[in-house]
Symmetry: C2
Subunit: 158 residues, 2 copies
DNA sequence: GGCTATGACTTGAACGTTCATGTCATCTGG
DNA sequence: CCAGATGACATGAACGTTCAAGTCATAGCC
């Protein structure tokens, strides 16, 4: 797997950083979902599905495009859309131009629900992340995030 | 909920930072779990249960203490321990001193499994996080994480 | 113009988490 | 003592995600 058998354990500083980071990694998503669940009965992905559709022309997107947008797999999205469909927030229909594709469409009811929910969600993101950090820290956090995602991609490719 | 009805939407810089951060938030846990699952058939929490027990005196901890350590609820831990118990990695017995408590104990087999797995996991954490950032970025990430967790706690309390 | 290949979903079963509830041991006031 | 109250788990059903097939429409090739 690695080119050497040496294990480079973490220094105490590295370990402390990793622990703090790791705790945040566990608690932030839970805190964000808690608000969405409480106020709108949606989880994180469901919210972003509605948000993504609302920004799309005709509030319509292909399932496959939507899956990429919300960083999810098609199967998960399919199950998820069935639930949202039951609640009347979206509907699906085959693409008239090419029957292989399925178009996901945000209904008026779904749009209304999103509009109800968005302010609270943004306020929460502000309170827990954006406003909890000063400008330079936020910049640094962004850079860290990009570096980490890049490391993951490099790892997947290699 | 909020003291004002004004919605402070995100600026484009803030939005960009949030998007990068949010993507990392989705992909890093998946990448870490993928390695643990592939190499050891464990998820993140299961790994940290074994790791936590291995650092404890007599490789023994109360369920409730372990739950706090791995930032999990007792119910989840209980189900999880039943699975680890089936695989022979841990065992449970009532605390001889106080029958209300249950002691979770790491078996030799569980310890051996952890020892097999730890180097790969640490290498992965290094590759994807620690070594992907320079020293000052890592410090900053730690500070960000602590600030965010603090904001969550403040929010829960308020 | 059929025949296979490919791509885009959909579906059902297996798995893990959450939620509500049950159980059991100890403490506590009377 | 003994009758709740409390605290620490355990358990079962409901829910969401993942994984492995299955379906169905078009594209390409002969």
């Amino acid at each position: 797997m690695t080119t050497t058998d040496e294990v480079r354990w973490l220094s105490s500083d590295e370990l402390a950083a990793w622990r703090s980071f790791s705790l945040m990694l566990a608690r932030l998503p839970a805190a964000l979902e808690e608000q969405l669940q409480r106020d709108g009965g949606l989880n994180f992905v469901e919210y972003h599905v509605l948000a993504g559709l609302s920004d799309a022309p005709d509030r319509t997107m292909r399932m496959s495009g939507l899956a990429v947008l919300v960083n999810s797999e098609l199967s998960r999205l399919s199950h998820l859309m069935r639930r949202l469909e039951k609640r009347g927030f979206v509907r699906r229909e085959p693409d008239p131009c090419d029957g292989r594709f399925t178009n996901a469409i945000l209904t008026d009811e779904g749009h209304a629900h999103l509009v109800r929910l968005a302010p609270g969600h943004v306020a929460n993101v502000r309170k827990l992340v954006i406003d909890a950090l000063d400008q330079s820290r936020l910049d640094s956090l962004r850079q860290c995030s990009e570096d980490i995602v890049q490391a993951i991609d490099a790892c997947d490719a290699g």
